[in-house]
Subunit: 191 residues, 2 copies
DNA sequence: CATTATAAACCGATCGGTCTATAATGAAAC
DNA sequence: GTTTCATTATAGACCGATCGGTTTATAATG
């Protein structure tokens, strides 16, 4: 029997995809092994702490990806460019609504309680980073806070609708609409 | 041993609450029995088809509730009154974000595939009912379609954020913001 | 040839689901 | 107004399958 050899950096995204498709409770070890092609032996070699450690490392991996590609640009770079980049990255990452947000999904059931700190941290940082970029772009602090919450919430809602209606166009309309509304708060009203 | 006797109309909301808290896969029969106080015997007496029948009947019950309290008023009654009623009912139903939307939660993982028809029907009907009310209130059809999608998506996103950040105020800000934006599309711009 | 990683048998616990015994209920018979 | 009794509903033992997790043996790697 042929054995394929992986390392941890390959394994995390593969397991992550199964959690995204099935949720924490739905992702049984046997589903993870069949869908990834990895045996239990490999899984417990990389994640001695089992399912909970898998999910924790996946959440950390997601957070790191968003930090590098979304949060830090928003916090650091020229704000309008960074916001445009955010919309591009979000559309690509969520595959136009065909892929869900694992952090948002975990928030909905009691899985939240296992990972409460990471989940709240992810959304808090995203909202604050976007808010800061809007303020640097000239928006008033109160308006920037409100519209940032609406934007991040709107993305999550768009993902739910895209899957519920099985229609990726609705996710793209959602983010296009949000991008347009955000643009009104930068540089005094025009995009 | 004392035995409490229920009928099906009592049982559906009790089981529904467990599905809401734990999700479809997380809601094991033993969790359902301990949290509701109902024995397996009672559960399978009311739902011979098991877990899947429980969830299907709960979804039908949710749909019926929204039909009577939200969709039909939007479709039938004076639109501005009906929209105001919608916001009141939504805030009460979701307990200001402390309670999630089961239909939206089911949409996120492969549970969707079991109940695809009911899930898409729920959101389609809600969006169309709101859109129709906005049009009757004087909104242009294209604007009404877009804002209706944003509103229903925004509610779902608000529920995710409320749980993720463990902060019910964010849900109330979300629906207040959406209500205000919707009001701009009725009667030519003022609320 | 030590280290790293894979495969799969194996474990007790829990899974969804079935079954049997019996308690509560309400209408008919008296 | 009791008594009777079929109906309705509850309790929990029980079933095979699957759960998350452990272990042992061994293949790939540098």
């Amino acid at each position: 029997m042929t054995r394929t050899v992986f390392e941890k950096s390959d394994v995390i995204p593969m397991v992550a995809e199964v959690f995204r498709e099935l949720g924490y409770e739905g992702a049984s070890l046997s589903k993870i092994t069949t869908r990834t092609g990895l045996s239990k032996g490999s899984l417990y070699y990389f994640f001695p702490g089992g399912k909970e450690e898998m999910a924790a490392e996946i959440l950390a991996h997601v957070e790191a990806w968003f930090s590098a590609n979304v949060f830090e640009p928003l916090e650091r770079d020229e704000p309008i460019t960074a916001i445009q980049k955010m919309w591009r990255e979000v559309d690509a990452y969520f595959r136009s609504g065909q892929r869900i947000c694992l952090v948002g999904a975990f928030a909905l059931d009691e899985t939240r309680d296992r990972f409460a700190a990471m989940i709240s941290q992810y959304f808090k940082r995203w909202i604050e980073a976007l808010c800061a970029a809007l303020v640097r772009a000239g928006a008033a602090i109160e308006a920037a806070t409100a519209i940032s919450e609406e934007a991040i919430g709107g993305i999550q809602g768009g993902l739910i609708l895209a899957r519920a209606l099985n229609d990726e166009a609705i996710f793209q309309r959602t983010i296009a609409g949000l991008a347009e509304r955000l643009a009104k708060y930068t540089q005094g009203g025009s995009s």
